[in-house]
C-alpha cells in the first residue's frame, strides 16, 4: 500500500516524462495524458495485480488494462516504464524511428505491457470484453480495466460493446471514461453534446460510479477500490471520471488547445518548473 504522498511523487515524475517525451519530438498528445496521470499511477501502483517483471500477453491470473484512447500514449509509457515493464530510459525513443514506443501503442513492436494496438478510437471496450470473457472461461478471477476518452464515446462501436457487456453480464470489467470535456475541435459540448453519460450507461445496464475529482489521487484510489467491490455482481462497472485536460501544467489547463500540440523550449522549462523531479528524469 503506497501512501498518497508517495503516489503524488510518482505523478509529478510522470508529468515531467509526458512533457519531455512530447517536446523531444515536437509531436504527441500532452493534454489528455496529463489529465490522466493520477488515474494511471493509481491503477498501476496501487490497484492492479500485475507482473511487470515478466510480461505475458495472456495475463493469466493478472489484472489487465487496455488503453482505448491510444493517443495518450505518453502517460501510458511513462507509467509502464516506472512500473518495471521496460527501462525508463527507453522513453527517450518515443515516436522516433525504430522505437517500440510508437505514436500510438501497439503490440507490433513487442513493447511489454501493451496487449492491443489502439489509436483508431472506439475499439478498446470490445477487446476488453473479449479478454474478460477469456478470463471467465479460464476461471481466472482477475479484473479487466479500460480507459476511454469522452470524445471517443461518439464512436458507435462503444455502444455496441456497452450493450453487449451489460446484456451478457460481463461483470469482471471496470471501464473508465476520462471526462475532460475536450476534443480536437473544441469542447465536447461544442462538437457533439452527449447529454447525460450516467443516464446513458445506466439505461444500457451498467453500474455507474462518479469520480468528481479525477486529478485527486486519494479520490481516484478510493473510487477504483470501490469499483473493484462492485465487480462480480452481474453488471459491468463504469467510472465517469472528471479530469482537467493538461492538469499540472498551468498554461495547458482548461482548454482543448493542448490536445495534440507539443510545448516549445520555453514552455517545457515552465512545465518542468511546476513539477518536481522525484524519481529521476530519463
Amino acid at each position: 500500500m503506497a501512501s498518497t504522498a508517495e503516489l503524488e511523487k510518482i505523478v509529478s515524475q510522470v508529468r515531467r516524462d509526458i512533457v519531455r517525451q512530447v517536446h523531444a519530438v515536437n509531436s504527441g498528445h500532452p493534454g489528455g495524458s496529463l489529465g490522466c496521470a493520477e488515474y494511471f499511477v493509481s491503477l498501476y501502483f496501487e490497484i492492479m495485480k500485475h507482473n511487470s517483471a515478466k510480461f505475458s500477453m495472456d495475463g493469466i491470473n493478472e489484472d489487465v488494462f487496455f488503453l482505448s484512447n491510444g493517443h495518450i500514449s505518453p502517460v501510458f509509457y511513462s507509467v509502464l516504464a516506472h512500473s518495471g515493464y521496460f527501462p525508463v530510459k527507453e522513453l527517450a525513443t518515443f515516436r522516433k524511428l525504430n522505437t517500440r514506443l510508437q505514436g500510438h501503442p501497439t503490440t507490433h513492436e513487442h513493447l511489454p505491457g501493451v496487449r492491443i494496438a489502439s489509436g483508431s478510437l472506439g475499439q478498446g471496450m470490445s477487446v476488453a470484453i473479449g479478454a474478460a470473457l477469456a478470463k471467465k472461461l479460464n476461471k481466472d478471477n482477475s479484473i479487466v480495466y479500460t480507459l476511454h476518452g469522452d470524445g471517443e464515446l461518439q464512436e458507435g462501436q462503444i455502444w455496441e460493446a456497452a450493450m453487449y457487456a451489460a446484456a451478457k453480464k460481463v461483470d469482471n470489467l471496470i471501464c473508465t471514461v476520462d471526462m475532460n470535456g475536450q476534443q480536437i475541435d473544441g469542447s465536447t459540448d461544442q462538437v457533439l453534446p452527449m447529454g447525460s453519460l450516467r443516464a446513458k450507461f445506466e439505461a444500457f445496464g451498467w453500474d455507474v460510479l462518479d469520480l468528481e475529482k479525477g486529478n485527486d489521487i486519494a479520490s481516484v484510489v478510493t473510487t477504483l477500490k470501490k469499483a473493484k467491490e462492485h465487480t462480480g455482481k452481474g453488471q459491468p462497472v463504469m467510472i465517469l471520471m472528471k479530469t482537467e485536460m493538461g492538469n499540472g501544467v498551468d498554461f495547458m489547463m482548461g482548454s482543448h488547445k493542448w490536445h495534440g500540440v507539443a510545448p516549445n523550449d520555453e514552455q517545457l522549462a515552465q512545465a518542468l518548473n511546476q513539477n518536481a523531479e522525484t524519481l529521476g528524469d530519463y
Binding site: 489487465v64 489502439s118 473479449g130 460493446a161
Partner: protein, 317 residues
C-alpha cells in the same frame, strides 16, 4: 484430362460448420462468435454442443471483431462468423487495428461471398473481400472450392498462429475433393497436368475450370488446372513452374478483377516471368438480384467464359 466425379452437391458453408463442429470436440481453446447468422453460417451444432464457448453478439460486427481480438488474450482461438460483406468491408478498421496490426490469432470466417448469394442483391454480394483482406500485412486469405475442402481448411486454420480470412459461400457445388484430404495453407493443388495453358482457379470457379478443361480437351487443347485455395500467401513456386511450362495463363474467380486472385498472379508473373494472362472475374461492377446461375452467366463467370479466355490467351502466346 483427368476425370473428376462427385456423388453430391453441397454448400461450402456447411463444410465450415462441419469443420467447426469437429474443432469443438478436439480443441478446447476454439471459441466461436456470430452476429445473428448462426443458421446461415451453419454454426448451430457448435453453439448447441458448446454453449459456454459460443458467443452470440447480435447485429454488431465491429464489436464481434473486437471481442474476438480480446479472447485471444487468454489463449482462446476465436472463429467469427457472418456474411463476407459484414466480415470485411463493414469492419475493416477493426480488423486492421485490433486483429492484423495487433497480430491476434483470430479466424474471420465469411459466408455468402460473391454473386452466388443470389437474390439478396448487390448490397450483400461482396466482390472486394479478397482484395481488402490480402492487403492487410500478415493476413492469410483462403477460398476453398467445395464442402470437403472447406471443412479441411477450417480445421487447418485452427493450427495456424495468426489472423486468417476464410471465405466460403451459399450455393451447393460439386463436392469432388477427398474427404480425408490434408489441407496445407499456401500450397496450390494440381488438378490436371497440361501443356498448352494454365488455368488458376479459386473457390466456386474451380469446378467450372474443370468443366472448361473437359471442353478444351475435346478440342485438343491440353489445360493445366490448378486450384489456388490460398490467395495469400500465394504458392509462387507452383504458379511460376506452371507458367514456365504452358507460357500462358487464365485466372478464374468469383471476385472483382481488381484485388483478386488474377491480380496476385499477374503481379507475381510481371515481376518474375512476364506471361500473357486473361482474367475471368467481375470487371469493376456491382452485382444484382437473380439466381446464382443466372448471375454467374450474366457476369461471365461460367465454364464457357473460361474456354473463351483460354482461346484468347492462346493467340497471345
Amino acid at each position: 484430362m483427368k476425370k473428376y466425379t462427385f456423388t453430391e452437391k453441397k454448400d461450402t458453408r456447411s463444410g465450415f460448420g462441419a469443420g467447426l463442429s469437429e474443432l469443438g470436440k478436439t480443441n478446447p481453446n476454439v471459441v466461436a462468435l456470430c452476429a445473428d447468422l448462426t443458421g446461415s453460417l451453419k454454426m448451430d451444432a457448435f453453439a448447441k454442443d458448446h454453449p459456454e464457448r459460443f458467443f452470440q453478439v447480435g447485429i454488431a460486427e465491429a464489436n464481434m471483431i473486437g471481442i474476438a481480438a480480446g479472447l485471444t488474450i487468454g489463449g482462446k482461438i476465436p472463429f467469427t462468423g457472418t456474411f463476407a460483406n459484414f466480415s470485411t468491408g463493414r469492419v475493416y478498421d477493426q480488423i486492421r487495428q485490433s486483429v492484423a496490426y495487433s497480430g491476434k490469432n483470430v479466424k474471420i470466417c465469411a459466408s455468402h461471398a460473391g454473386l452466388t448469394l443470389g437474390e439478396d442483391g448487390a448490397t450483400h454480394q461482396i466482390l472486394e473481400d479478397l482484395g481488402l483482406m490480402k492487403m492487410l500485412p500478415g493476413m492469410v486469405v483462403i477460398n476453398p472450392c467445395d464442402f470437403n475442402q472447406t471443412k479441411a481448411a477450417t480445421i487447418a486454420i485452427a493450427s495456424h498462429e495468426g489472423p486468417v480470412y476464410l471465405r466460403f459461400g451459399r450455393p451447393t457445388v460439386p463436392n469432388f475433393t477427398a474427404s480425408d484430404q490434408k489441407f496445407e495453407i499456401g500450397k496450390a493443388v494440381m488438378l490436371n497436368e497440361g501443356t498448352d495453358v494454365t488455368i488458376f482457379a479459386t473457390g466456386h470457379l474451380v469446378w467450372k475450370a474443370i468443366e472448361a478443361g473437359e471442353q478444351l480437351a475435346a478440342k485438343g487443347i491440353s489445360a493445366e488446372i490448378i486450384n489456388i485455395h490460398t490467395i495469400k500467401p500465394l504458392d509462387n513456386t507452383a504458379v511460376i513452374n506452371s507458367a514456365k511450362k504452358t507460357r500462358c495463363v487464365v485466372t478464374a474467380e468469383e471476385h472483382q478483377m481488381n484485388g483478386g486472385l488474377g491480380d496476385s498472379i499477374a503481379q507475381l508473373l510481371a515481376r518474375e516471368l512476364p506471361t500473357p494472362i486473361e482474367m475471368v472475374a467481375v470487371n469493376d461492377s456491382f452485382g444484382e438480384s437473380g439466381t446464382p446461375d443466372q448471375l454467374m452467366t450474366k457476369y461471365g463467370l461460367d465454364a464457357v467464359n473460361i474456354v473463351e479466355a483460354v482461346n484468347k490467351v492462346l493467340k497471345r502466346k
